[in-house]
């Protein structure tokens, strides 16, 4: 308790300095307090001096004293040459990720495992690194240990918030994979062709997103983009200004590609639903991207036509399309391409989806367990039966009603796999443009 008391002024400091910061105003403190603490899952980033960098919920005044405590706990372990990784308190699990000079903390009572929460923290850290490179961060803090990073992160709250929200609602993040737009094969290959026809030397990577999901992409064979980096890109596309037919140029660091430098990202929203993303990393990227822009104008109308076609041709796969009796929901991940297809649940409301997400979380935790991962998981609850199956080339999760027999589940899963293999080109970007 002494430690905590000693640290509180440190945590309290930023409150005084908050006038200049961009953290959401401190209006109606009490009502905020009651709502923010009700959230099931909290993500925090703080500096090793205990200064808040990011919090998903709560005003700075609400969280800073807690962050002071967190800082005290972490540093007391650190000073004895140890690191705190996880702390379980009742229903709450606290997971820590130490990326000196920054600490990341997640507090959750969603029942997710330590490993799952930790991998979410590293996704959050990646998001931070996409805005400021690790060397930049180190340099800033080496000058002044109690540096306030938020000034540099101004305006990026929505990037973090959108990532955190998808971490709590979307399984593809969890499985470190890419969710593709479902497109009829000819439409997809037309998009790939369009990417090919406007390819220029300096563009290292280009992709077309439809409704925030990837429709096709081109990339060098030797340097494929890591799913983590793609995640950052797609998060940026997702949150970027809906400028009508606008274009943006943004410097971004893709930590898995090169964690010390920025690449230039060109984003062009052809329509509110369709957007083209291109990356150039050279110092003359500006010219490269504008040349790309010119080329793109030439194929734009074609691209637009295709994209409209794909918007009208079922973009999401629903369970009804698959037509397997008893199947309520399914999720399929291709291990090699790291792409994932998730059916749209038809009869599920929000609460059901949350429960489903919980089931998937639990199952994927078992399939990906570091020690003794399992191959097949069969689980019946009062409301659902879930079967999860992991093989060398894929992972499959399928959900049925609670009263279905085991043998019908097996039959259905086999049928499902055949269906997926047949629909592969529509579900996944199976033939991206490689060069």
């Amino acid at each position: 308790m002494e430690d905590v008391g000693a640290v509180e002024p440190v945590g309290g400091q930023p409150v005084n300095g908050s006038a200049a910061s961009t953290v959401k105003g401190a209006a109606s403190h009490d009502s905020q307090e009651s709502t923010w603490s009700k959230e099931k899952k909290h993500f925090f980033i703080l500096s090793s001096a205990g200064k808040p960098v990011y919090a998903r919920y709560g005003e700075e005044a609400d969280v800073s004293s807690y962050l002071g405590v967190a800082q005290a706990i972490i540093s007391s372990f650190e000073s004895s040459g140890d690191q705190i990784r996880c702390l379980n308190a009742g229903r709450h699990r606290f997971v820590f990720l130490n990326r000196n000079p920054l600490y990341l903390v997640v507090v959750s009572h969603t029942g997710e495992s330590e490993a799952q929460l930790r991998s979410q923290l590293s996704l959050l850290y990646n998001q931070l690194l996409s805005i400021m490179t690790a060397p930049q961060i180190t340099r800033l803090y080496s000058k002044r240990i109690n540096f306030d990073l938020r000034r540099f992160l101004a305006g990026t709250d929505n990037l973090f918030d959108s990532l955190v929200d998808s971490l709590s609602s979307c399984s593809s993040m969890e499985l470190k994979s890419i969710r593709c737009a479902r497109l009829e094969a000819p439409v997809r290959s037309a998009i790939t062709q369009a990417l090919k026809s406007c390819r220029i030397k300096d563009i290292r990577y280009a992709a077309v997103f439809v409704n925030g999901r990837i429709a096709s992409y081109s990339q060098p064979r030797s340097h494929p983009l890591h799913p983590f980096d793609l995640q950052i890109l797609s998060n940026m596309v997702h949150t970027s200004t809906k400028y009508g037919a606008g274009e943006t140029w943004t410097p971004l660091c893709l930590p898995r590609w090169n964690h010390t430098a920025f690449v230039n990202v060109y984003v062009n929203h052809l329509s509110p639903n369709v957007c083209v993303v291109a990356l150039a990393r050279d110092k003359d990227a500006f010219f490269a991207l504008s040349a790309y822009q010119t080329k793109l104008t030439q194929v734009k109308s074609a691209l637009r036509a295709y994209c409209y076609a794909c918007l009208t041709s079922a973009v999401v796969a629903s369970v009804a399309d698959i037509g397997i009796p008893g199947l309520r929901h399914c999720m399929f991940r291709s291990t090699q391409s790291k792409q994932i297809a998730i059916a749209e649940p038809i009869t599920y409301n929000e609460g059901d989806q949350q429960r489903l997400f919980g089931l998937y979380q639990h199952a994927s935790g078992l399939l990906h367990a570091r020690s003794a991962p399992i191959m097949v998981h069969y689980h019946t609850t009062a409301t659902e039966t879930l079967m999860a199956w992991s093989s060398a080339s894929f992972e499959l999760y399928a959900v049925f009603g609670p009263f279905i027999s085991k043998s019908s589940v097996i039959t259905a899963v086999n049928t499902l796999i055949r269906w997926i293999q047949k629909a592969e080109d529509a579900l996944f970007v199976s033939r991206p443009l490689l060069f």
């Binding site: 943006t248 430098a261 920025f262 010119t294």
Partner: protein, 249 residues
């Protein structure tokens, strides 16, 4: 070029279509003063409450007719956040016009605007036309206002987000105008929300642009990023991180 004679000769017959004159324009100013909102109002004639911040820079175009000329503005709407500061030269270096925006309810944003003006006058194209725009006048409409005192009635809804803190004008129009006159800038007070003064800024800039510069032969394709090698990105290849000593990052 041929356009010169065209433009003057055709002034009496506007029915003949003319080639639009391209003008590269850059918007600069502190974060959250309403740069993107001004552009959105000008380009799409719309306004979004609580618009998300621009990251990097956005590119938009809009044609406008001024007297006998058609001007095609190629607008670079830059991000106001400090970490993007070092990218700004890339956008303003070949610009023929700049709008430096501040927020009339935040005195500090005028200081930032002044420093942008200084930077432009030092480093940008010497003939650049600079306009200073004091945005968000709709928030202070009840005060004495020399713009459109009778039209600004949107204050009630505008004050909603500021619950307990009344929004007051921190930059008197006279003060900003005096500064603009002294520095040779065009000056406007605007409300992107209500659309006041926005078209006027762009029109006035279009009138002010010297015609010989507009018809510079070097402009083939996109203004600002043509073959001319004036944009020098070679001083540091490491992206925004290393560039420019002004930024501590």
């Amino acid at each position: 070029m041929a356009d010169v004679s065209d433009n003057t000769a055709l002034s009496g017959s506007p029915s003949v279509p003319m080639k639009p004159v391209q003008v590269k324009l850059v918007l600069l100013g502190e974060a959250a003063v309403g740069k993107s909102s001004l552009v959105l109002r000008f380009v799409n004639n719309e306004f979004q409450e609580n618009k998300e911040p621009t990251i990097g820079a956005a590119f938009l175009t809009q044609k406008t007719r001024v007297e006998d000329k058609i001007i095609k503005f190629e607008i670079w709407d830059t991000a106001g956040q400090e970490r993007f500061h070092s990218l700004a030269p890339m956008y303003y270096r070949n610009a023929q016009a700049a709008i430096v925006v501040y927020d009339v309810t935040r005195a500090a944003s005028l200081d930032k605007a002044k420093s942008w003006v200084k930077e432009l006058q030092r480093q940008a194209n010497p003939n650049i036309v600079i306009a200073l725009a004091g945005n968000k006048v709709d928030l202070v409409s009840d005060e004495d206002d020399d713009l459109h005192p009778d039209e600004l009635d949107g204050d009630e809804e505008a004050n909603e987000d500021g619950d307990d803190m009344p929004i007051t004008r921190q930059v008197p129009a006279e003060e900003a105008r005096a500064y603009a006159d002294e520095s040779g800038l065009l000056f406007f007070e605007t409300s992107a929300k209500l659309g006041h003064g926005v078209q006027e800024v762009f029109n006035e800039i279009a009138r002010k642009i010297p015609i010989d510069q507009m018809l510079m032969p070097s402009r083939s394709g996109r203004a600002g990023m043509p073959g001319s090698n004036r944009i020098d990105l070679n001083n540091d290849g490491q992206g925004i991180g290393g560039r420019g000593g002004s930024c501590a990052c």
